[in-house]
């Protein structure tokens, strides 16, 4: 997943800075130097909303239009808290009111259906066409529906929700958990890497276990995993033994965790080792960049979008920046936090490019909190820099909560998880 700059390109990138000219490594737009500074942002999630806000905040002379079909954006972060009964959907609902009123961003409730990179236009579902000088594409993920025989968008919408885009899917999975009998069996089936929010499925198992332990204590959760390890694994497993002994079983690929097919009518999944029945089945399918990224020709053979790591400008189409889960951002995970961090870096770079200046070297961060139970939190952090190898994690920094953390520290992490949510949604939509 590491996007490598050639040594020559990397030198060129630095030399372009020395010469004070952006030409060569950064795309230029026809009107950028003529004073027209119009940016269209496609997608109002963590990446797109942060980019839109910070463009306006850093340079109020830039006009920003944000295209997002949903009036309310439900965040994936903390949607597992909803599944565990610790939060409501209202608690994770974000709107565009502040971005519109305070930051004077033109919010268009529509979907982008086509991009013409040569003309600098975005066509919307309504037929309306927007002109841009620079475009930011932040479409999040789409699912590879055909990768699991028997699974489909309609199966996800009725019997086996993915709940990996928050909203109706979260409500459906939550309802299934509420309706399940005591003694029921929950199957959680995460995909192989790379996928959105690497610790997400395991926090989900934890918080569902918290609900089941309190209300339906004879129930079980089985995680069927096509991987041989997962994010914050030692911390999760220690927490599960302490909090939910015997309730959560994790099966690695070697133990038959890989799901090869599903049967929605029978409510079963087939693994390499046999057939598993579930009362609630959560299939998290393999993923790719959101649809508009494909339609705009921004993806490569991996199904994700290659970018210049200084500005997140597409290496395929100059003038278009791709941020968030859809981008190939080297060592960075696909997370809301990472998307927001990338959105700010892209915004700062675009401000400089409009001024005819070279962007500053990027600095990127990620922090993902996971809650195992109220008062029991863990985290993973990473600080990222640009090298000739692309975006790499700084080895001396980052890492996870110490495995030896005592109850006071785990409680602090849980408190900071809530504090983090409040601040990042405020920093993005508020």
């Amino acid at each position: 997943m590491t996007h490598k700059l050639s040594r020559r390109d990397f030198n060129k990138l630095l030399l372009s800075g020395v010469a004070g000219s952006a030409i060569g490594i950064f795309g230029t737009s026809n009107k950028a130097f003529a004073g027209s500074k119009r940016v269209v942002v496609i997608g109002g999630g963590f990446g797109g909303a942060a980019a839109a806000k910070y463009l306006r905040k850093l340079d109020p002379s830039i006009s920003v239009t944000l295209v997002e079909p949903k009036a309310i954006f439900y965040t994936c972060p903390f949607s597992n808290w909803v599944l565990g009964g610790l939060k409501t959907m209202d608690d994770i609902a974000q709107t565009y009111t502040v971005l519109k009123n305070k930051y004077q961003i033109n919010i268009i409730a529509d979907s982008a259906v086509a991009v013409d990179a040569s003309k600098g236009t975005v066509k919307l579902k309504s037929g309306k066409v927007l002109n841009y000088d620079r475009l930011i594409v932040s479409p999040g993920i789409d699912f590879k529906w055909d990768s699991i025989p028997g699974y489909s968008e309609s199966v996800a919408g009725s019997k086996m929700p993915h709940a990996y885009q928050a909203g109706p899917q979260t409500i459906l999975l939550h309802k299934q958990l509420l309706d399940m009998k005591n003694g029921g069996r929950v199957l959680i089936c995460p995909p192989a890497n790379p996928f959105r929010c690497p610790p997400g499925p395991y926090e989900r198992a934890s918080l569902i276990a918290g609900y089941l332990k309190a209300k339906k204590p004879n129930s079980k959760i089985v995680i069927l995993d096509p991987k041989d390890k997962f994010s914050k694994q030692a911390l999760f497993k220690k927490g599960w033994e302490r909090l939910y002994p015997g309730m959560i079983e994790w099966r690695s690929v070697a133990a038959g965790g890989k799901v090869t097919a599903v049967d929605a009518a029978a409510m079963t999944v087939t693994t390499e080792f046999g057939v598993e029945k579930g009362d609630v089945i959560n299939i998290i399918p393999p993923q790719k960049a959101g649809k508009i990224a494909f339609d705009a020709g921004l993806t490569d053979a991996t199904g994700w979008c290659p970018i210049n790591p200084v500005s997140f400008e597409s290496t395929i189409h100059p003038g278009i920046h791709v941020i968030g889960d859809a981008s190939i951002a080297g060592a960075m995970p696909k997370s809301g936090f990472a998307a927001s961090s990338q959105g700010k870096v892209a915004a700062a770079a675009i401000v400089r490019l409009f001024q005819g200046k070279v962007p500053a070297a990027p600095s990127l961060v990620n922090t993902c909190y996971s809650l195992l139970a109220p008062g029991y939190g863990i985290s993973v952090a990473g600080v990222y820099k640009l090298t000739a190898e692309g975006i790499v994690e700084i080895k001396e920094a980052g890492g996870v909560t110490p495995i030896t953390a005592d109850d006071d520290q785990l409680n602090e992490e849980a408190m900071f998880a809530s504090g983090w949510y409040n601040n990042i949604v405020h920093d993005t939509w508020g």
């Binding site: 630095l14 850093l58 500053a360 961060v365 922090t367 600080v383 001396e396 900071f416 601040n423």
Partner: protein
């Protein structure tokens, strides 16, 4: 223009230039940055572009412009001197934290100074 160039070079390109010329480690920047540290002192109200990019990271957890709306401490309203000392204490591990030490270790002393200057300026400008 010359001044601008020097600021850019010192603030962000020094370590990467070292890389490009083959030393192969960003850490080389910390050695390089000890000498010109005084030269990058940004003027009040003037955002150093590298300092800005570094500092935007902080707002995800500490709030826009460092003003928190929740339990995580605000970093706005603090002086650059205070913030620099705090970040260095987190970096060295002499100050207890859950996650800050893991973040602070990701920055050179020069980068820490740029971040401290940025939020120190935000604080002064907001007064």
């Amino acid at each position: 223009m010359a001044v601008k160039f020097r600021v850019w070079l010192t603030a962000c390109a020094f370590s990467t230039l070292a890389l490009a010329t083959g030393s192969g480690a960003f850490a080389a920047g910390s050695g390089a940055s000890s000498k010109p540290a005084k030269q990058v002192q940004v003027k009040r109200g003037e955002a150093n572009p590298r300092g800005l990019v570094l500092s935007l990271s902080c707002s995800s957890c500490h709030g826009t412009d460092g003003t928190s709306v929740g339990i995580i401490p605000s970093i706005s309203g603090r002086s650059a001197e205070y913030l620099e000392a705090a970040l260095k204490a987190f970096k060295s591990g002499t100050r207890y934290s859950t996650v800050m030490s893991r973040h602070a270790k990701g920055y050179t002393d020069e980068e820490i100074r740029l971040i401290a200057d940025y939020f120190g300026n935000v604080s002064r400008n907001n007064k």
